[in-house]
Symmetry: C2
Subunit: 304 residues, 2 copies
């Protein structure tokens, strides 16, 4: 698993792109560790509408004006394949990012990425081609991102300690994000699920100030939860975080962001969470790579 984590710095320098023509909107289909590449991309790209679909079906508006990108690391995710076939039928411009599998076969324009990793450990291979193919040159930012994640690879004792504190207290994490780190908060949630086999939850400012704040103040059970938020907010959102903590009296730990570009900051926080959830697994004596129940479920569904 550590080898997989340490491959992210190289993944961020991945050079491959996919070709595309003119489009009016983008739909990205992907589930779990593959879908998160689409969600992170949709937070940094906003030149046209982007919808991330994590389901079997696609919206009615998908047609020849749509650039449809299927992302499945294995290439065998049934929801993504189903969505891809529907997009083809609708005449959408299609592309795929995959290490092979069925998707690699049926999509003529597949961008084939290196295989052999857990999908959630291959985020760089799935995210970088989206950025390189659809945004202005961000190679400088991606180099910076590679640098900041390498720094975490070489120094993460503090993260290990924080993970141990969480697990020893038997608390479940709640990660509070804000734009452009909403998807990062969700990434942490899913990494806690898969790596640490822990339930975890995410929310975002300023939305949570319109509902969750009422519960943060006086819900029972909040003593069983550990709250985390990211540094790096500015303006009103920064004030909101401060006031929300003050007014509700929750204990919330700040996760420090590093890097100057948005992409580097995002990848720093992603990788911080990768290590946090990896160490939380070790602290629980749990194998972080193991996802037997997901495999069992796939087998059951294939018989259906």
């Amino acid at each position: 698993m550590l080898d997989e984590l340490k491959s992210l710095k190289e993944q961020l320098l991945f050079q491959e792109k996919f070709e595309h023509g003119y489009f009016k909107n983008i739909v990205i289909a992907g589930m779990g560790g593959s879908g998160i590449a689409g969600s992170i991309f949709s937070e940094i790209y906003d030149e046209s509408p982007v919808e991330v679909v994590s389901d079997y079906t696609i919206p009615a508006y998908v047609n020849s004006d749509t650039l449809f990108i299927a992302i499945s690391y294995s290439g065998n995710t049934e929801e993504t394949i189903s969505a891809y076939r529907e997009a083809e039928r609708r005449g959408a411009q299609t592309a795929a990012i995959t290490s092979g599998g069925t998707l690699g076969k049926i999509c003529r324009k597949s961008l084939i990425i290196p295989g052999g990793l857990q999908p959630r450990s291959a985020l760089g291979y799935m995210l970088v081609p989206l950025i390189s193919s659809l945004m202005h040159d961000h190679s400088k930012d991606l180099k910076e991102a590679s640098k900041v994640v390498e720094n975490i690879d070489s120094m993460n004792d503090r993260i290990k300690e924080e993970a141990a504190v969480l697990v020893k207290a038997k608390k479940l994490p709640v990660i509070m994000g804000f734009k452009p780190f909403k998807s990062v908060a969700y990434r942490w949630q899913t990494q806690f699920n898969e790596n640490s086999k822990l339930l975890a939850f995410s929310a975002s400012f300023p939305e949570l100030d319109h509902n969750q704040i009422m519960a943060l103040e006086s819900s029972y059970g909040k003593e069983n939860l550990a709250f985390y938020y990211f540094s790096g907010a500015s303006g009103k959102v920064k004030e909101r975080i401060k006031f929300t903590i003050d007014l509700t009296g929750i204990e919330a730990k700040q996760i420090p962001v590093e890097g100057s570009s948005r992409i580097a900051q995002i990848m720093h926080l992603v990788h911080y969470g990768d290590y946090f959830t990896y160490y939380a697994a070790l602290e629980r004596n749990i194998e972080p790579r193991e996802v037997t129940t997901i495999e069992k479920l796939k087998k059951l569904l294939s018989q259906f």
Copy 2:
């Protein structure tokens, strides 16, 4: 509060529409109890891309091809007003749904809805104009929706009992949705937050089968959570719900859906949650209407 809940059946027969011209995409800005109208709408409308913005800023693609709809029940939500002003500057076609306030003044094309309710109790007034103005005639479905919510108004002892079970066990709810009830799961979450002052969480099939399922099986702390899912799934998603519960051994309670049209089913589940969270508040001896901390936060922010 009961009066507010019972007004939903009339809200669903609300006849007002807003005018609009040709557009290529829709952006809806709204926070909390107002934003949820946009989220529910985006799950049933898919003729063009819809993005729901719950933030101060709007995506770069917003221009004269965009129909921008600001929803703020009070008309004074700072994020929504900020997003609205930006959309005006970009030359978007703008509309607003509000009971008045600043938004009612600055938006020439405001659809003014009846005031005096808690925003979260005015969902019908905010959702129905979106449906009536942007979709083919759904008056039959809205009538059916009005009927099914009225049925809940007149018979909800079972919901009261279920709420008492949750609160007595001091568990926090996790609501599992699926399309087109993903936003309903989130609505329940926020109603637990505001009405019952309870932390609550939501997730959706099939996405959760790619991550959360690992934690459902072996996370510590799951004994402090109560899992709920909606009936009415079909095909693969139905199988997934069954297999997920079987494989992980969680105790998950089914919330029955009623109604034949999608809109009626959605509103049935919404209203079920309205009562569930209302009764959970009473069981905790908490005033469901009270949202003092949100008011305090607004005051603090206005000084900033």
